[in-house]
C-alpha cells in the first residue's frame, strides 16, 4: 500500500504498514505544540468510521483527558489517562508498563478496537516511543518555537514516522520562515514525510487524517488477506 502524503516525501511502502489491530499510534512533541488538539481533530474526523480509543500521558493533572472529554469527540470510556511520575519519556520508551496496561484495558472494554492513539506528555526533542508500545509515531512541533526547530534534530524529529509542523497560522506573527522549516525537515529526515498544518484554520490537517486512516485501512486489508 502506498500512502499519499500531501507534503513531504514518502518512505518505502513496507515501512508504513502494520498488520494487526488495533493499530497503535504515538503522538509526541514538546509542551503545547498541539498534540491534544491533533488528537481531538483525529477523533472528530475518524471516530465515525474507525473504532478507536485514546490514552493520554499528562505530566500533571488529567487536563488532556478532561479536554478531550469536554470536546465530546469520543465517549468518556474510550479515553484513559496514565500518570507518569515526572518521567513522560520513561512512560513511552523505557518502561511502557502503564501505557501497555492502559491499551490493554481499552482493548478489553471495546471489542473490535481498530486504533489506539497514545498522546505523550509534552517532552523534549529526544522523546520517542518504544516499538513495544506503538506501531507508528507522529512528532508534533510548532512554528511558534522558531524556524530553527526542525534543524535541531533529535530522535523525535529524525526518527518519527510523520513529522507535523503545527500552527502555521502563527508564522508571520513569530517571524518563522515556513519554507526554511520544510526544507530543513526534509533534509534532516531524508525524505520521510512532513506535513505543515494549522489546527486553528484546519490547513493541511487532512494530510494527517489521511495518513492515520490509511494505516488502519492497511491493517484491515492485511487481516483480510491473512
Amino acid at each position: 500500500m502506498h500512502l499519499e502524503i500531501p507534503q513531504g516525501g514518502s518512505r518505502s511502502p513496507s515501512s508504513i504498514e502494520t498488520d494487526s489491530l488495533p493499530v497503535k499510534i504515538g503522538i509526541g512533541g514538546p509542551v503545547g505544540s498541539g498534540k491534544t488538539a491533533l488528537v481531538a481533530e483525529l477523533c472528530r474526523s475518524l471516530s465515525g468510521r474507525i473504532n478507536l480509543g485514546v490514552v493520554t500521558n499528562d505530566i500533571y493533572t488529567t487536563e488532556d483527558a478532561e479536554f478531550l472529554k469536554r470536546q465530546g469527540v469520543l465517549s468518556d470510556d474510550r479515553i484513559v489517562a496514565v500518570q507518569t511520575g515526572c518521567c513522560p519519556h520513561t512512560a513511552i520508551r523505557d518502561d511502557i508498563s502503564d501505557n501497555q496496561a492502559a491499551v490493554e484495558s481499552l482493548v478489553r472494554a471495546h471489542e473490535g478496537l481498530e486504533l489506539v492513539i497514545i498522546e505523550s506528555g509534552g517532552d523534549n526533542l529526544t522523546a520517542t516511543f518504544s516499538a513495544g508500545l506503538v506501531d507508528k509515531q507522529i512528532f508534533v512541533v510548532d512554528v511558534a518555537g522558531g524556524d530553527k526547530v526542525p534543524r535541531k534534530g533529535g530522535p523525535g524529529i529524525t526518527r518519527s514516522d510523520l513529522l507535523v509542523i503545527n500552527k502555521v497560522d502563527l508564522a508571520t506573527l513569530v517571524g518563522a520562515d515556513l519554507a526554511v522549516m520544510e526544507r530543513d525537515a526534509w533534509e534532516i529526515r531524508q525524505g520521510a514525510p512532513v506535513v505543515l498544518i494549522s489546527l486553528r484554520t484546519d490547513e493541511g490537517v487532512i494530510g494527517v487524517v489521511n495518513w492515520v486512516s490509511a494505516l488502519v485501512e492497511g491493517a484491515r486489508q492485511m487481516l483480510k488477506i491473512a
Partner: protein
Amino acid sequence: MDAGTVLSYLAVAMTTDGRFPTGGYSHSHGLEQAISRGHIRPEDPFCSLARWLRTQLQTVVITGAAQSAWAAHHSAIGHGDLSAVNDRSDLLILLDSEIDARTPSPRAREVSRSLGRRLITNLLVGWTTPSTKFAEIRVAPVLPEMPGLCGEPFGGVDGIEGALAPLELLAIEVASPHLSEVTGCFLGCLGTSPVEAAAAWCYNCLVSHVSAAVKLLGMDPVSAFGLLPSLGDIISDVVAEASHFASRPASELPSYSFSLADALLEEHATRKDRLFAS
C-alpha cells in the same frame, strides 16, 4: 561461582534495578501526598525523609519483606519436581489472601496487584534461560492477556516443569498477584534465599521513596541515596526479622501498618493534580 548462583544474582539485580520495566517508576507509595500534606519537610528533622523511611521500614516494608521471604522459601523447589509444584498451588493462593488481610488500604492493595501483574507478565515473557525448559509452552498463554490464562490451552498444571514453575503456577491461580509475592516467588525459583529476597524487597521499597523524593523535593540525589546506608542497622534488623517468618505458617506473618501512609494513599488516589500514580 556456578551458573545457578550467577542466575540467582542476576535475578536479584534485575528485579531491584529500576531500569527493568515494571511500572514502578510512576509510584511514590504515598510519598507525594505526604509531601503535599507537609508530613515531609527536609529542613525539619522531625519531618525528614529519613524519618519517613524509618517508619516505612518498621511497618509496611517489613510486612512486605516477610511476604517476599515466605514466597521465596515456598517457591524454592528442585527443577522438574512436578509433585512439589502441585503442592505449592494452595500455598500460593493462601499467601495471596494473607497479603490482602495485611494491606488495609484498598488503594495499596490495588497498586500492589497491578504492579505484581505487570512484573509477573514481564518475567514470564522475558526470562528464558536454559534451565527454564518450558519456554515454548509458556509464552503462548501468557500473552497478551493474563486473566485469559486461567484454564486456557496451557495443558494444566501437569504441563509445567522447569525452574519458574511456581511463578507460572502463581500466574495461573491468581490473575493479578501481589507484588511482594511475585518478587519472592521469582527469586525463590532462581535459588535466592529468603534473607536475600527480604533484602531485595527492602531495597526496592526504599529506592521507590528515595527516587520519588529526589524528583518531588529536588533533593540532592547523593544525599538522598546516602540515606540507605545510614539506615543500615534498621534494614539489617528488618531483613533478619522478616526472613525469620519464611518457614513459619502464613497465618503468623507480621502485619504492622502505618495508618498515616494508608490514609495518604487513599487521599492521593482521589486527586486530579498528581504526578505519581500512587
